[in-house]
Symmetry: C2
Subunit: 147 residues, 2 copies
């Protein structure tokens, strides 16, 4: 049941990633969940906004803290379709989110390529939720770009 919930929320993040795909953005999506409720949904908008900081997680954190009215996301879980980069892992750390769940690994730019300690030790991390779907969407995007 808990795992079903994780897949449910990752599907919501994937729906966001698909919105990015439709805008010709690298398809990454994120949602923030607090007390079993999605309080923020966001997708990568770096090309649309011409802003290298506009990753899905950054916008999801900004939207979620805005919704909560405070700058921390304690007791929140961030779901993201791709392993966060160092910037986003740093932001997740500042937000004090209790958990991170991601889909596909990012062997080139993922935070773990630099250091696991980019996330605070108390942040629980789970990877591989709907990994195949998350990865395939990214592969389809990069294939379409090469086409």
């Amino acid at each position: 049941m808990i795992n079903d919930n994780k897949e449910h929320y990752m599907r919501a993040a994937l729906a966001e990633a698909n919105k990015a795909f439709d805008k010709q953005e690298v398809p990454v999506g994120a949602v923030v969940v607090c007390n079993d409720m999605i309080i923020a949904r966001a997708h990568n908008l770096t090309e649309t906004l011409k802003d290298p900081t506009a990753h899905a997680e950054m916008q999801a954190i900004t939207a979620a803290t805005n919704w909560l009215g405070g700058k921390y996301l304690a007791d929140c879980t961030i779901y993201v379709t791709l392993e966060p980069c160092a910037m986003c892992a740093g932001a997740i750390g500042w937000s004090q989110a209790s958990s991170l769940v991601f889909g596909a690994a990012d062997k080139k730019k993922g935070y773990r390529t630099i250091s696991d300690s980019l996330l605070p030790p108390k942040t629980s991390v789970e990877s591989g939720v709907l990994e195949k779907e998350c990865r395939e969407l990214l592969l389809r995007f990069f294939k379409s770009r090469r086409g």
Copy 2:
């Protein structure tokens, strides 16, 4: 003369840090310089915006890319009064800024406490410009908070 320019731009970043101080924000300021012109000025607004991502550098990068109309800051230098954290170093990396100049070191949260490789190898880094002034403003802030 080059060094004088660096101090000139760091003074502009310090002026931003002072604005943060006046808003009871941790006093960090940043400017982005392109072709000897300041194209963006920003200061920490995490409390005001209740957003943990609203560091001076993040906002300066967003403002500068908006001004340039593209998502990269090639040939730009980012001046910041305090050593960037991991999140901000990651953002500087994505922006492809050619140089980073910072004032005071941050031995607790600075990116170098995790890894120098948070910045791309081609990004030149200089530290210690107006270090004393940058550090003293921060010390004055934390002293006033304890007061």
